[in-house]
């Protein structure tokens, strides 16, 4: 198997719109939640969200959108994009610059792109309403590519002239972790030399509020404690959006280009609960098997893991099931790994989560820290036996595990190895 490295990252997130700012927020445990203006209505029980700053994408016409001056998007490109398409484009630009890739590096048969997003319920709803009201022939010609799931890969692959493998992944909150895993395989198997991994979500009313009906969202009104994974009083997740792009490269490419390395993607594993369409298995069996598979794939014992970036979204049931999976894997380890959920800071980015948190792990490994698990006042007693770190540790982890779980009981575990 060929070795795979992360050589570039790009972020548009609720805790920062570039790697430097994100890293600072992670270290200082600065969260991105606010009382989200569109939620401040009597009939909306949820008040807090973690929006993207410095972008305005709240109208249905892309030409009205505002984004930081360093990015320029022509109308021709914008008209086929959802809000998260713009986030992904900006993150992609950062990642390309960060990895110092030339146009030729991006556009060749050995370079591919895997992406994940839930599409844009916001635009989809608007376009369908327009169709119902004004007739099918008045649909926006690019309404479909702007709004359906896949919009991110459509746009980025065509715009960045990607010639290698490309597709989208759709396993809800595990989607971009799946994208990362399969992208890693493409390189390990020698099919591709370089892969872009993209996770993105609109993170607006239409993509977040439908989860209220499931009672999955926190109804906290204090933004500073709304997302508190592993806390006894956690009451649901806080929605967010944005985009993260990772550049994965083979060892040969890293050598050829003299690329800067964040860390090695050592391997991954996945497994399914086979249990419930929306509720994770109470014992976390799928996640446990996914982690076991990842350890097997990387030939590592559980005690080799130094840090776990948990999936924990701050829902009562979901966190508990992950806690149980982690205890089963690491419970008897004399050197227990540090565990934290960065969703306490970012909120839950759904399809974006896996790639975003892999990006956080890459930053932590390059810069030498482990971000703390924020907002815990009373640790859930179920966590006894786990080393949940409540402050950032200034050490570089050697081996990092990042978990993701999605609807239908899909679970993905990715393992990173320090390469510095």
């Amino acid at each position: 198997m060929r070795k795979v490295y992360i050589t570039g990252v790009g972020f548009i997130t609720s805790i920062g719109n570039d790697a430097a700012r994100v890293s600072e927020s992670l270290r200082e445990m600065r969260h991105g939640m606010v009382l989200y203006p569109p939620f401040q209505k009597a009939d909306v029980p949820v008040k807090v969200a973690a929006p993207i700053r410095d972008f305005q994408t709240d109208t249905t016409e892309a030409e009205d959108w505002v984004f930081p001056a360093r990015y320029s998007l022509r109308r021709e490109l914008l008209r086929g994009m959802a809000p998260h398409g713009v986030y992904a484009y900006c993150a992609m630009q950062q990642a390309v610059e960060d990895a110092k890739l030339t146009d030729a590096d991006c556009s060749n048969p050995d370079t591919g792109l895997y992406a994940a997003s839930g599409g844009s319920p916001f635009l989809l709803g608007y376009y369908l309403e327009k169709m119902r009201r004004h007739g099918v022939m008045r649909c926006q010609p690019l309404g479909v590519v702007a709004s359906i799931s896949g919009t991110v890969n459509f746009n980025l692959v065509s715009h960045f002239k990607i010639k290698g493998a490309s597709t989208g992944f759709s396993s809800a909150c595990a989607s971009s972790a799946h994208a990362l895993g399969f992208a890693c395989d493409e390189i390990m198997l020698g099919r591709q030399q370089r892969m872009f991994v993209v996770g993105a979500e609109d993170g607006n009313t239409e993509s977040i509020l439908p989860f209220a009906g499931m009672r999955a969202l926190s109804v906290q009104t204090d933004p500073s404690i709304a997302s508190r994974p592993f806390d006894l009083a956690r009451d649901g997740f806080v929605g967010t959006g944005g985009a993260t792009v990772l550049v994965l490269e083979s060892e040969a490419e890293v050598e050829r280009r003299g690329a800067k390395i964040y860390c090695e993607v050592a391997g991954w594993g996945q497994a399914s609960d086979g249990h419930n369409v929306a509720i994770s298995h109470p014992e976390g069996t799928g996640l446990r098997v996914a982690i076991t598979n990842a350890l097997k794939a990387t030939d590592l014992p559980p005690e080799a893991v130094d840090y776990v970036n948990a999936h924990a979204t701050s829902t009562p049931i979901g966190d508990l099931s992950e806690i149980r999976a982690l205890k089963t894997i690491f419970g008897n380890s004399p050197t227990r790994p540090a565990v934290s959920s960065t969703k306490a800071l970012t909120g839950h980015g759904l399809s974006l989560a896996g790639a975003m948190e892999a990006g956080f792990c890459a930053l932590a490994m390059r810069e030498g820290f482990m971000p703390g698990s924020a907002h815990i006042t009373r640790l859930d007693p179920a966590c006894t036996g786990l080393n949940i770190i409540r402050a950032t540790l200034p050490h570089r982890p050697g081996i990092v595990l990042s978990n993701s779980s999605g609807f239908g009981g899909a679970n993905v575990a990715v393992i990173f190895r320090n390469a510095l």
Binding site: E63, E76, M137, R138, P141
Partner: protein, 313 residues
């Protein structure tokens, strides 16, 4: 025909309510104020004189800012795709906005042939008035030109050509093999000015034969077209072997037995020659005969140039 033109049947004014006005303003919010004004006037009065301003205003809104200057002093020959960088998807957006503003429906088949700003204007004008739609621009490869024209090699100076209701365009590449270049001039081949004028005259002949001239059922007799006069002919550039001449003519007056055209020749962006007036005499064929070219109209209308060439081969 004349009667039909005088009693437009397709366009009926709907009351232009304040709500409609608000929708119109919203729809045209990214267009110039003049576009909205023209559209509002059109919706109130049905006066088709407002159409060109509306169409240009809508197209301008979709043209990238750096190309908008082209539209400012555009003539009707400005090509939507080639000159304005508008792709077929943007064309759809333009159509949807035009449909919205003019309250009409345009189907895909009708759209396919609209290549120039002039095509769009004429199309909408006919559509709004309920007139039969004009024949779209025809693109004629050399083989087809040769089969239509009374003039033949080695004295035919048209390569590929396009003809629509408003005029005709053609290209001619000076090969260097033209027989007269041996003596014009000695050791210094230059296309004679008289040949430039001849080429424009030939394009005018092609227009008379292919450009839907005359009344229904009558066709221009290819044996009865002759040169009568020209005025204001000026040459601006010496043309030599290797140059590709872009010829264009437009009818100024068409009244049996005279047809007067204006013409110009460019090489790339450089003006090579202009003729303010070229006048030909013509006559209709005695009997109603099917056109000499045996191309079924549906093929000529809908097939792209390459397919036509195959059909004709």
């Amino acid at each position: 025909m004349a009667q039909a033109a005088n009693s437009p049947s397709g366009f009926q004014l709907k009351p232009f309510t304040p709500e409609e006005d608000a929708n119109l303003r919203e729809a045209l919010k990214r267009c110039s104020a003049a576009t909205y004004e023209s559209a509002a006037q059109f919706r109130k009065t049905g006066n088709t004189e407002h159409l060109p301003a509306i169409v240009l205003g809508v197209i301008e809104r979709y043209v990238e800012p750096d190309l908008r200057a082209k539209l400012k002093d555009a003539d009707d020959d400005l090509r939507i795709i080639e000159d304005l960088g508008i792709d077929s998807l943007t064309m759809m957006e333009i159509v949807i906005l035009v449909e919205d503003v003019l309250q009409m429906t345009i189907n895909n088949e009708e759209l396919r042939h609209l290549r120039t700003v002039g095509d769009v204007k004429t199309f909408l004008d006919c559509k709004v008035r309920g007139l039969p739609l004009p024949q779209p621009t025809k693109f004629l490869p050399i083989e087809q030109i040769a089969s239509i024209m009374p003039i033949q090699a080695p004295f035919l100076f048209l390569g590929e050509a396009s003809v629509n209701a408003h005029g005709a365009n053609a290209k001619y590449k000076i090969s260097g093999q033209e027989f007269f270049l041996q003596g014009h001039f000695k050791g210094n081949p230059v296309l004679p000015a008289s040949i430039m004028l001849e080429a424009l005259g030939q394009l005018a002949v092609l227009f008379l034969l292919e450009g839907q001239v005359g009344e229904a059922g009558k066709s221009v007799d290819p044996k009865m077209i002759f040169f009568t006069s020209c005025e204001g002919v000026r040459c601006h550039r010496v043309c030599r072997p290797g140059d590709v001449l872009s010829l264009s003519i437009k009818p100024k007056r068409l009244k049996l037995p005279l047809a007067t055209f204006e013409g110009q020749i460019r090489v790339g962006q450089e003006k090579a020659a202009i003729a303010e007036e070229i006048t030909l005499t013509f006559a209709y064929a005695e009997e109603i005969v099917p056109p000499v070219v045996a191309v079924a109209p549906t093929v000529a209308v809908s097939a792209p140039a390459e397919q036509q060439a195959v059909v004709n081969a």
